[in-house]
């Protein structure tokens, strides 16, 4: 089956804007129009504003509305305008804060749900950035509007991607009676500090090894902070480009960027090994859009063992850094101070499980120990949070984790923005809650790295192989989740394991196995 992939709006680096929707002028009331969808349906499209000013929209197939509404929560969007010439990876330039309502993960999926008799709804939230608390309130109000304006509404299924998954889980925990089932996909989970520690550790590692001028936290106020963040992303990109471009260099010192402060003893180790170490200690996936970590040209496995992990991390790190930089900027402003803190982080423990598996990529135990020693030397100066920042962060909405309504997660195992360890956290909270919780995984394929005739990796493909990228699911995968969520909404519990196995059997890349597990986010491993 032809795949129609979508990219959920999530974080800075992977931002892909969906089609804009006109804003209705009236507050608390919808203005509605008929619209023909690309699959030939005539649907009613209603738009309005919630009391907090958030744009909302809902779409109904008036001919066969079955009484169930899918309420979508979109992912992270930049909270600040960015001027022309400053373009975070995946973003647009100039970027204007996007306040449009979003009713589903893709037009195709939305139209399929409408064709099946469901209604779809969603808002743009009242602010952008990490806006979970107000987004939950907006969603609650929107549910009320839906029930008022669509009196045939019998039930609401909450779903969302990335930060939208976090919002969905928060909604399900706080207002379980308002929804019948929930589907947080490619979700962040637990508390936001876990997600930002992931990105912060990556940035701190890059700052320590490659460029001391990289900012990890403590952004300036106002436009200066925005410029600082954009410049910061440029520095990270420059480091990654340098290492990627010199990865085959035999003189290891030349693989280090000129900005690196490392002593000669460390520069005797290939810079790719330091990047691999940083990626592993932060928890960046080693599999990426173009690098499967398994393939090698001919019979020479050295590519897979020594180079591919660094190349995969380099591809993913740009996106993860985007998250770290712009979400940190946003949240520091929200909470009133710097919150990243690694004063007690034990980075050796962080990689204890991986140093054997990635030993070749890390250039052996002596190199690993040498690099780790840097992290506890004056070169690796730790960062302390401000009390205000840390307290403010801890006051953000957090999950308890237990599924109170039937909940279905779907997660790419090599997601570089919201790593799969987020969903594992939820899964671990619900190991015995099998009637209410169903974890699905989009696992990576066997191999997808391509090589040229001369053995060089080919990175020209724009496709996202199963399990890679952020929220890069096929329509089949997303619709399977939607159908299972609908079934769960009817039954009051997730479908039986046998039914789920049948449902996922022919969906490429989708795995259901209750005993399958991935490593938790490093933050949760402590």
């Amino acid at each position: 089956m032809k795949k129609s992939r979508f990219a959920a709006l999530a974080v800075a680096a992977s931002l892909v804007t969906m089609s804009a929707v006109a804003i209705a002028p009236a507050a608390h009331a919808s203005s509605c129009d008929a619209e023909q969808t690309s699959n030939g349906l005539y649907v009613e499209v209603c738009k309005g504003k919630t009391s907090d000013g958030a744009n909302f929209e809902y779409r109904t197939n008036t001919e066969n509305f079955n009484g169930t509404v899918y309420l979508w929560s979109h992912g992270y969007r930049y909270a600040v305008n960015l001027p022309a010439g400053i373009q975070p990876p995946g973003g647009t330039t100039p970027y204007i804060v996007d306040m449009s309502a979003e009713v589903g993960p893709s037009t195709y999926v939305v139209n399929q749900l409408l064709a099946a008799g469901y209604a779809v709804a969603g808002s743009g939230f009242d602010t952008q950035g990490w806006t979970v608390g107000s987004a939950v309130k907006t969603n609650v109000e929107l549910i009320g509007i839906l029930k008022s304006e669509l009196p045939d509404t019998k039930g609401v299924i909450a779903w969302g991607a990335s930060m939208g998954g976090f919002i969905t889980q928060a909604l399900a925990e706080r207002f379980p009676k308002l929804i019948k089932s929930a589907a947080p996909i490619c979700t962040a989970a637990g508390n936001v500090n876990a997600e930002l520690t992931y990105a912060g550790d990556l940035l701190w590692g890059m700052k320590t090894f490659f460029d001391p001028s990289i900012t990890v936290s403590g952004y300036a106020d106002g436009p200066a902070g925005v410029g600082q963040a954009a410049l910061n992303l440029g520095k990270v990109a420059a480091v990654l480009r340098h290492i990627g471009g010199t990865i085959l260099e035999t003189d290891t010192a030349k693989t280090w960027p000129a900005t690196s402060p490392m002593p000669a003893s460390i520069k005797a180790i290939p810079a790719r090994s330091a990047l691999t170490l940083i990626g592993l200690m932060a928890g960046v996936p080693t599999q990426s859009q173009h690098f499967d970590g398994s393939s090698f040209p001919g019979v020479e496995t050295a590519f897979a063992l020594a180079l591919a992990p660094a190349l995969g991390i380099a591809e993913n790190a740009g996106y993860a850094a985007g998250l770290g930089i712009f979400a940190t900027l946003d949240l520091e402003r929200r909470v009133g101070g710097a919150f990243y803190d690694n004063t007690t982080t034990d980075y050796a423990a962080r990689i204890a499980d991986e140093r054997a598996s990635f030993n070749v990529a890390l250039s052996g135990n002596s190199a690993i120990d040498g690099m780790l020693s840097i992290l506890s030397s004056p070169y690796g100066k730790r960062i302390t949070a401000s009390d205000k920042g840390l307290n403010g962060l801890m006051a953000q909405v957090a999950h308890k984790g237990k599924a109170l309504v039937p909940t279905i997660t779907m997660t790419g195992t090599a997601d570089m923005i919201t790593p799969a360890g987020n969903s594992q956290w939820l899964t671990n909270k619900n190991l015995k809650n099998t009637k209410k919780f169903l974890p699905l995984w989009v696992v990576t394929d066997d191999k997808w790295t391509r090589f040229s005739a001369t053995g060089s990796p080919d990175t020209t493909s724009t496709a996202w192989p199963n399990g890679t990228g952020h929220c890069q699911f096929s329509s089949d995968q997303v619709l399977t989740v939607a159908k299972l969520a609908a079934s769960a909404a009817k039954k009051g519990s997730v479908p039986s394991d046998a039914a789920v196995e049948k449902a996922v059997a022919n969906v490429d890349g989708l795995l259901f196995d209750r005993e399958y597990s991935v490593p938790l986010l490093k933050y949760y491993q402590k």
Partner: protein, 436 residues
């Protein structure tokens, strides 16, 4: 539209139950819903490098195990069930080992994993495929990394090879007994394999004059020439220990041949890198191997006086004609024989838990080609516990020194190295275990 149409199936279900009852009365006993077990088959899985640089050496293991299983299957199987070994390629790359192991468990639904190969590979697989948490038996791993016998961490994993710590301690003991005061160099991989070795030598009190640690893969001929000319020669080394894979042994010995270099006493090879057939295939001239000291827990594959060797050799020639019988093949077939005994010990209705308990309670008595005792018990998943020391002959076979096979046993901790006597059970009749 998403809709489930209920169907009345009562009559159909009744018919199925009746037919099933009739069929059951004619079938062998069957364990209740055990993955990989049917009335006619036991499905096992193995990951090993079938492609890539080391495929020519380690890729022979699945074929060797299948050869022995074929012999058992052709003689009635295990309580009537045929063993079906599903082999997956991991190319000796951890990422692929994880994928292959997950596929064996989740797609092929094997009963147990057997003979998985490679320290880094299997550590990655254990971490990501959750064998312990799933309760999947992980039998007779083909690596001597001491950590795999950590029952608290890996509840379902059973080591079989003596650990690298044991091997290093025994080598150190031999050097101390026979070459006390000589200058020793140690060439070792800079990973967990090497870490075990370094720990073992340190525990035994051996302090190498020169230690060459190299990242895995950084063992080219040119690198080996540099080690010899830059470190071994200047230090006037008496005994140079190569504790690495055959790729490294081949590089070092090949370089030594080219440079006409030999430590004053000679070379000492760890068991992993000491298979002469593989070294010969890698271009190492046998002359340089002649007189080198080596270790093994099993007989040399060319030992025509050994009943296990002769039996395995015959079976291998029958089922894998044209392929060279070497130490890797012998070890693979030996692990297959242990597997059959474990399955038999688990009974006619095997379960995963039952298989693990069977090895813990009966595994120490299993017949095998190994000369040193197996240490399986309810509190230990340690396999063989020692080595014998030999010297390579002019034809490349590892032979007991002065015609007498001296065994040493020890543990992976601080326990002493002690001499032991051979306590090997005889080969079961026609190589077919009858244990229960």
């Amino acid at each position: 539209m998403i809709r489930n149409t209920p169907k009345k199936r009562a009559l159909f279900v009744s018919a199925v139950i009746a037919a099933g009852a009739m069929a059951l009365s004619t079938m062998p006993a069957q364990a209740a819903s055990q993955p990989g077990i049917t009335s006619t088959e036991i499905k096992l899985g193995i990951t090993s490098p079938l492609s890539g640089k080391v495929a020519a050496v380690y890729g022979k293991i699945p074929g060797a195990m299948k050869a022995y299983f074929s012999h058992v299957n052709d003689n009635g199987g295990v309580y009537g069930r045929k063993i079906n070994l599903i082999s997956k390629d991991d190319a000796y790359v951890p990422t692929l080992a994880v994928k292959a192991t997950n596929d064996l468990i989740m797609k092929d639904k094997v009963f147990a994993i057997v003979g998985a190969l490679g320290t880094a590979n299997h550590l990655a697989a254990l971490r990501s495929a959750n064998l312990s948490g799933r309760g999947v038996p992980d039998l007779f791993v083909n690596t001597g990394f001491s950590g795999f016998a950590d029952k608290a961490k890996y509840k379902t994993t059973f080591a079989v090879l003596p650990s690298y710590v044991m091997e290093a301690k025994i080598m150190a003991k031999y050097i101390d007994d026979n070459y006390k005061g000589k200058k020793v160099a140690l060439i070792v991989q800079d990973d967990d394999f090497g870490l075990d070795a370094v720990a073992g030598f340190a525990t035994a009190g051996l302090k190498p004059e020169v230690t060459i640690k190299f990242p895995t893969g950084a063992d080219s001929l040119a690198a080996a020439q540099g080690w010899i000319t830059g470190k071994l020669k200047p230090a006037n080394i008496d005994i140079a220990i190569i504790f690495a894979t055959t790729t490294t042994s081949a590089a070092v010995l090949g370089a030594a041949a080219g440079l006409q270099y030999r430590p004053t006493v000679g070379w000492m090879l760890g068991s992993v890198g000491g298979d002469s057939n593989t070294l010969r295939a890698g271009g190492v001239p046998l002359a340089i191997l002649n007189g080198a000291i080596g270790t093994s827990f099993a007989p040399d594959p060319s030992d025509a006086t050994d009943e296990y060797v002769n039996f395995f050799k015959g079976i291998y020639a029958k089922y894998v004609p044209g392929s060279t019988f070497d130490l890797t093949v012998l070890q693979g077939m030996n692990s297959a024989m242990l597997t059959v005994q474990a399955l038999r010990a688990a009974g006619k209705n095997p379960t995963r838990d039952g298989l693990i308990k069977a090895i813990e309670t009966k595994g120490a008595k299993f017949a095998s080609a190994g000369f040193t005792p197996l240490k399986y018990s309810p509190s230990s998943h340690v396999g063989y516990s020692g080595y014998w020391i030999g010297k390579y002959s002019a034809t490349g076979s590892l032979q007991p020194i002065d015609g007498k096979r001296v065994l040493y046993t020890t543990d992976s901790g601080s326990g002493p190295v002690v001499s032991a006597t051979i306590s090997r059970a005889p080969l079961p009749t026609n190589g077919l275990p009858t244990n229960s």
